[in-house]
């Protein structure tokens, strides 16, 4: 009896979240989920039921779709490796007692604040040779590396990587912020204790910082994967679109299905497939974190 009452009390805590969630997420989700089994143009009242036909088409015939997943995965890998390492290093640097800490903390958060439209325009201007200032190439020439000069955004081999790097630039501010918050919550006493025990900087980093930061690192990794896989506005700003498939990403494919081919049902099926892929990846990451926890 007491246990029941306690459980009821506990439910009250999650009730508001559950109510809002059920109304504004679950209902639209179910609608989209069942739409994935229809062929519908989004306008006519009539829909054609195709069962799993859309999903079969995505899995076995839609090479453009899987290419877009591959491209998004590539950008995400670069983000996980390059962007998050950068964010961690910057957060660690700003966690110490150095001058101008506050200045850096503000500056590093400017990229996330800028709209993706502006970021796309500004970086295209910086990188591109024809309609831009071609700054990167000029810098390469001035430091004596003219053989590395490329038309970064216009060559099929370099376009995707360039886009990925610009995305890292925009995104590291978030990782920086979360890592910093995480580093701040490590009690100073632990570092004191370690120093008393004779540990130098590297040891205290290895034995105090890293173990306590693992959940935060995984958190940032999961959020990075989720956010980066959904990139698309930046791509339109930098390379105008899918660049013959070289910079295709899943969201652009879904939008193409919705607006260009008027296949709303198919777009929903693509969205569900995309979600399923993300869930699997995140689940793997989460399990990995549970196992790595001390």
């Amino acid at each position: 009896m007491i246990k029941f009452k306690a459980a009821l009390e506990n439910y009250v805590f999650v009730l508001p979240a559950v109510i809002i969630f059920s109304i504004f997420y679950v209902i639209p989700f179910l609608w989209v989920f069942q739409l994935g089994m229809f062929e519908w143009d989004g306008i006519l009242p009539t829909k054609i039921f195709v069962g799993l036909g859309n999903f079969k088409e995505i899995l076995f015939q839609d090479t453009d779709w899987w290419r877009s997943i591959w491209n998004a995965g590539y950008i995400t890998m670069i983000a996980l490796i390059f962007q998050n390492t950068l964010a961690f290093l910057l957060a660690w640097a700003c966690d110490r007692e150095i001058r101008m800490k506050n200045f850096y903390r503000v500056i590093f958060f400017i990229p996330p604040v800028l709209s993706e439209v502006v970021v796309g325009m500004a970086w295209r201007y910086i990188i591109n040779d024809v309609d831009g200032a071609n700054i990167i190439n000029k810098m390469l020439v001035s430091i004596g590396l003219p053989q590395l000069v490329h038309s970064w955004l216009n060559e099929p081999k370099t376009a995707l990587t360039t886009v990925a790097l610009v995305h890292c630039w925009k995104g590291f501010g978030w990782g920086f912020l979360i890592f910093l918050a995480g580093l701040q919550t490590i009690p100073k006493e632990l570092y004191e204790a370690a120093r008393v025990d004779g540990a130098n900087a590297w040891h205290s980093f290895k034995n105090v910082t890293i173990p306590l930061m693992i959940p935060v690192v995984v958190l940032v990794a999961i959020l990075t994967v989720l956010g980066t896989m959904q990139v698309f506005v930046l791509i339109i700003g930098l390379v105008g679109g899918e660049f013959a498939g070289h910079t295709s990403v899943p969201v652009l494919r879904i939008l193409a299905s919705m607006r260009y081919s008027s296949r709303f049902g198919y777009a929903c099926a693509q969205g569900i497939t995309f979600g399923a892929i993300l869930v699997v990846i995140s689940f793997i990451q989460y399990r990995f974190s549970k196992r790595a926890k001390v």
Partner: protein, 282 residues
Amino acid sequence: MKTALYYRTKKFAINSIVHLFLISVSITCLYPLLWMVSASLKTQEGIFKDLSLWPRQFHFENYVFAWKEGGFGGNFVNSVLYTVSVVIGIIIVSSMAAYAFSRLRFPGRNILFYTFMAAMMIPIPGSFVALYVLLNKLGLRNTPIGYILAMVNVGLSTSIFLLKTFFDKMPKELEDAARIDGCSKLGIWWHVALPLAKPVLAVVVVFNALNVWNEYILALIIFDDRKFMPLQVALQTFQGEFVTNYPLLMAGLTITALPIIIVYLLMQKYIIKGVTAGAVVG
């Protein structure tokens, strides 16, 4: 003597390298911002002819134009109201839920949590149309409260995830102490958990404030009355189908970026002070 000098030089060298690193990253962060501001001070004719970062002439009136033509006045207030309401709403709802998932027991706790997590991972394409139809049926379309509730939902999963991760790391002794002192669960949540989570709460505030502030598609689709529109929708008037008024657009975007930077400036103090000033282990 020698060893003291050695340590001082070493510290100086390390600090210099660190600073160099930080400064070079800062320059790359500042350049696009300066580009945006510089573009906002040029004219539509001159903007692609005058390619330097320092405009030949400063057209500050662009900001006045952008403010007036973009109808910024009322829309600005709308954006502020929506952002504040959504952020407060999310803080309360998600921190309560995250606390429950982290510290309280009830049947179905794990399943419910994983459902929220899955929601975070499964984006719904075409969700705008679904939300439109839903709000229409509920009679909440074209109302601020409908938009606010929909936006609260958008940030809910991620905020719960962020908060739960930090609540899990919270030392239990403080809660036990409060419970022994006769504090109710709600009391513990309010007096112990929330203050300890200030750094994360600050992150949640900034994250959601940014999302709501920059949102425009949902607002454009749900609202029919101009007077409910947020700032971003007003901004789109500068980005026409054929003609984009670049200087005004940049001026508008600069004005739009400022409040979020201010929110961030306010919140980042809490990220620093956070734990060190907060809990006193009793």
